[in-house]
């Protein structure tokens, strides 16, 4: 029997998702954002979700749409103030959604830490700022640091460029961003990929995310381009 993580329908991809789950979404702005998986999550209907991502969505597609559907209880991100954000500001200003602001590098490191078995680490980022409030402080070599805890998730929704059936992934240019570390930090990493290749076509020197961090894969050959969709006024669902 051969390992094959490739699925053919979205309901199989998301079959374990539950109300109250914590879900990481790859991407930096629209680059590397797994829009089709997010839309499948809207179709799935899970509620009270905690979303970990760099941004809080644009327009009414992808994460913007998920928030608009009121499926999200809390967003943990570095920058929720995107130029074309509609739904997050609306709910936030009405007190209908929680926000945890995390410096972008601390966010990335907390995610990697979760994937690497590190429950907490010290960092100089945010020392002396409002974001250090309530955090343990410690001095190393005469410099102040604060303790930051790992950030894990039940699921990571990931957009790759190329995958094989073992889950070895590569990404396209700066669409790599948070995707590889989120694969490490989630109990289940669900991947949408443009291309699927045979394992013997995978160059072992060039793999960015090794299959050990991947649970399920689905092919989306021509994913929606967020900025185009927003320009065209597309609203999901």
């Amino acid at each position: 029997m051969l390992i094959n993580k490739v699925k053919t329908d979205f309901s199989e991809m998301l079959c374990d998702v539950f109300n109250g789950a914590t879900i990481m979404l790859g991407g930096f702005g629209e680059a590397g954002s797994p829009i089709e998986l997010i839309h499948a999550l809207i179709d799935h209907g899970a509620k009270d979700l905690t979303i970990i991502a760099n941004n809080a969505g644009n327009g009414r597609v992808g994460l913007g749409a998920l928030i608009g559907q009121r499926q999200v209880k809390k967003v943990i991100c570095s920058f929720a103030k995107s130029a074309k954000a509609i739904t997050f500001p609306e709910l936030y200003n009405n007190g209908e959604i929680e926000l945890e602001v995390v410096p972008q590098g601390t966010l990335a490191e907390r995610i990697r830490a979760a994937g690497s078995g590190i429950p907490a680490f010290y960092t100089a980022t945010a020392v002396g700022t409002p974001l250090a409030k309530g955090k343990e402080e410690k001095v190393f070599n005469n410099k102040k640091y604060i303790l930051e805890e790992a950030l894990s998730a039940d699921f990571a929704f990931i957009k790759a460029d190329v995958a094989d059936r073992y889950g070895n992934l590569t990404f396209n240019k700066t669409a790599r961003n948070f995707n590889p570390i989120m694969c490490m930090a989630a109990k289940q990493s669900l991947i949408q990929t443009k291309k699927i290749i045979e394992p013997d076509e995978t160059n072992p020197e060039h793999v960015i995310t090794p299959g050990i961090f991947v649970q399920k894969i689905i092919q989306v050959e021509n994913p929606i381009i967020e900025s185009n969709a927003i320009e065209e006024g597309i609203i999901y669902p």
């Binding site: 590397g32 760099n54 995390v102 972008q104 590098g105 945010a126 409002p130 240019k173 700066t174 961003n177």
Partner: protein, 218 residues
């Protein structure tokens, strides 16, 4: 409060002149992160006697200029989410690795805008204290880069000094700024106060002191 009309009377350096001063202070072979907005101008003023490598915190080292319309790739963007290019010898990495470059002290210079800079180098540039709080990579950059340069107007549109005794806005970092490039002066943050290392030819030290909330000296 300074009279904002002063700004219309005494002309300071324009943005490109400030950018050019910063560009001249970046040594050959530096690794540099330019903040979104005005700091991006710096790259247009690098002289041919040096090569600078630009880092964009979303996983891009060796960032090149804006592409032509027909060369745009939405998967190749900078930290401001604008399409960019990559130069030969550039590379991509994931977010944790990219911020290791910043947080691990490998970025030689970062150039950022400011709302306020205090006399002891505190920087406030991420929040007015109102609206949706959004920090991005600013706190990592000021905590991690070897040298933090601030590029800013010397006073606000309302005529208030941006170089202050104590910041009133939420901090981005404490004691992090090395040098400020404003339209009126280039100022080092030192233990003794704001040390003026270059002053606009149209103004006096007295004028500079008037528009600065904190001791300036030469």
């Amino acid at each position: 409060m300074i009279n904002p009309d002063l700004k219309n009377v005494i002309k300071g350096w324009d943005r490109n002149s400030i950018a050019s001063k910063i560009a001249n202070d970046l040594p050959h072979a530096s690794y540099v992160n330019l903040g979104i907005g005005m700091p991006e101008l710096v790259s247009q003023h690098i002289k041919e006697d040096r090569e600078i490598i630009y880092h964009s915190e979303n996983g891009l080292l060796g960032m090149g200029p804006t592409p032509n319309e027909n060369e745009i790739d939405l998967d190749l963007i900078n930290a401001g989410k604008k399409p960019v290019t990559i130069l030969p010898g550039g590379s991509f990495c994931h977010h944790a690795d990219s911020f290791s470059m910043i947080r691990g002290g490998h970025i030689d210079y970062c150039v950022l805008g400011a709302m306020e800079v205090s006399i002891n180098g505190d920087l406030a540039n991420w929040s007015t204290g109102k609206g949706i709080p959004a920090v991005g990579g600013a706190m990592d950059l000021v905590a991690g880069a070897k040298n933090v340069f601030v590029m800013t107007q010397h006073i606000t549109k309302e005529g208030k000094p941006k170089l202050v005794q104590t910041c009133t806005l939420p901090l981005t970092g404490a004691g992090v700024v090395s040098r400020v490039y404003s339209d009126y002066a280039v100022i080092d943050i030192t233990k003794e106060g704001f040390k003026v290392i270059d002053i606009n030819q149209n103004i006096s030290m007295e004028f500079l002191q008037n528009i600065t909330d904190g001791k300036v000296y030469q």
